[in-house]
Symmetry: C2
Subunit: 244 residues, 2 copies
């Protein structure tokens, strides 16, 4: 036993001090890196937990967005797992009122109820089409006159199979501009879904998950959805209302 | 002492039983009426206290109003201490979305900051003029194009001495529709201050005292108020911008 121990000690002695130093420092480096990675992951998790706790203690989400919003690239919101970064000439990685609005809309998992007077914004239309493609149940109520103006996206939504109903009376404007995400997040304000409104006008949008505010809007949507069901309305004729 | 006591007793005996009954019942009646009045006042005070307590426990005011609103008499909101009831043919004593909106506006004690795209509603104009007359500091920011359309009340407000500023750029619409009462109550939504919006359109108005929502709108108002100060803008000329 003593001989073998002496032999092993002697073999160790044959390793040069430089080799030993290399071996030790590599081990140390791996240890430090491993611990660093664990600390990083735990830190991120802790920050996320803290953020959620702070949000809960502050009460439900309340966010206000003002427009006009600078024109920046929002491609990353549509292609979150895209392999290549967007090469368009617009500024990248900038958070704006419009990008926040898009994020809130794209957070829908189950349903999106939209009540909007004028809808011609291409990127907002793209967001709605994407949600529909992902299986989110989208319902849209819009204005009778404004749904047919040049650039309106209502036709595109209908063609994609999205259920759209419009205000039946021609004497009344469906002037709301609100959306309900998964029946629990309300997006409402003065903003019509047009490029001018987003990029030029002075507008406001409020985003809230306050149930006392969300609930009345959900009820109003349901009321308008049922009131404008085409099945309950007879088609209008041009011969004084008589079907001959 | 005994004699005088006997005399008083004898005098009392001379009163007929009917007189005594009358005297007692009158006293009783007064007692009951007095107690009733005290109980009524205390009851009203207690209900008011309970209402305030319930409101505090529910958090800040949150109210949602939907339009169109039925056309009813709102005269009582302008003349709270009027001697005679209003004789107009409209329905009286009915609370509507519009009457609630008026009540919230007329609750202003110190200031009213108004940011409105289109303003032609006569009764809303009357409310603003009344507040101004009562010493409430009223500031209005409006749209450049819409302030001059037929029926606009902006000229009337200016003539009465109310400070009105308008969006300076002709390429941009000041499309907000919000008001801040005493800097702590926010009234915002899709509703322009027009008769069509109030009586015909599908519109929404949210009223809240939630500080997280009120504060950003107050900052936005201040920003617009300062940005549209005529003192900071040179008059436009028609000779290509050159002052000769």
């Amino acid at each position: 036993m003593n001989d073998s121990f002496t032999n092993r000690t002697c073999i160790s002695c044959h390793l040069s001090s430089a080799d030993m130093f290399q071996q030790v420092s590599f081990k140390e480096l791996m240890k430090v890196l491993g611990l660093g990675a664990v600390a990083f992951v735990l830190g991120v998790e802790w920050l996320d937990w803290l953020k959620r706790r702070l949000r809960v203690s502050r009460g439900p989400l309340k966010e206000v967005l003002f427009f006009p919003s600078p024109h920046v690239c929002v491609e990353h919101l549509f292609t979150r797992h895209g392999r290549f970064p967007c090469a368009c000439p617009l500024p990248h990685g900038v958070e704006t009122s419009f990008s926040r609005l898009l994020e809130h809309l794209l957070s829908a998992c189950r349903s999106l109820d939209l009540c909007v007077f004028s809808f011609s914004h291409m990127e907002l239309s793209r967001a709605i089409l994407l949600l529909h493609k992902q299986g989110v149940i989208v319902r849209v109520v819009t204005d009778r006159d404004y749904m047919t103006i040049t650039g309106s996206q209502i036709g595109t939504l209908r063609k994609a199979g999205i259920c759209v109903r419009h205000e039946m009376s021609s004497a009344v404007h469906m002037h709301h501009k609100f959306a309900l995400v998964d029946g629990k997040k309300l997006i409402t304000g003065s903003l019509n879904w047009t490029l001018t409104a987003v990029q030029s006008n002075k507008e406001n949008v409020m985003v809230t998950e306050e149930p006392e505010l969300v609930q009345p809007y959900q009820q109003e949507f349901q009321k308008l959805w049922e009131a404008n069901d085409p099945a309950n309305h007879k088609p209008q004729t041009t011969n004084g209302g008589l079907n001959r």
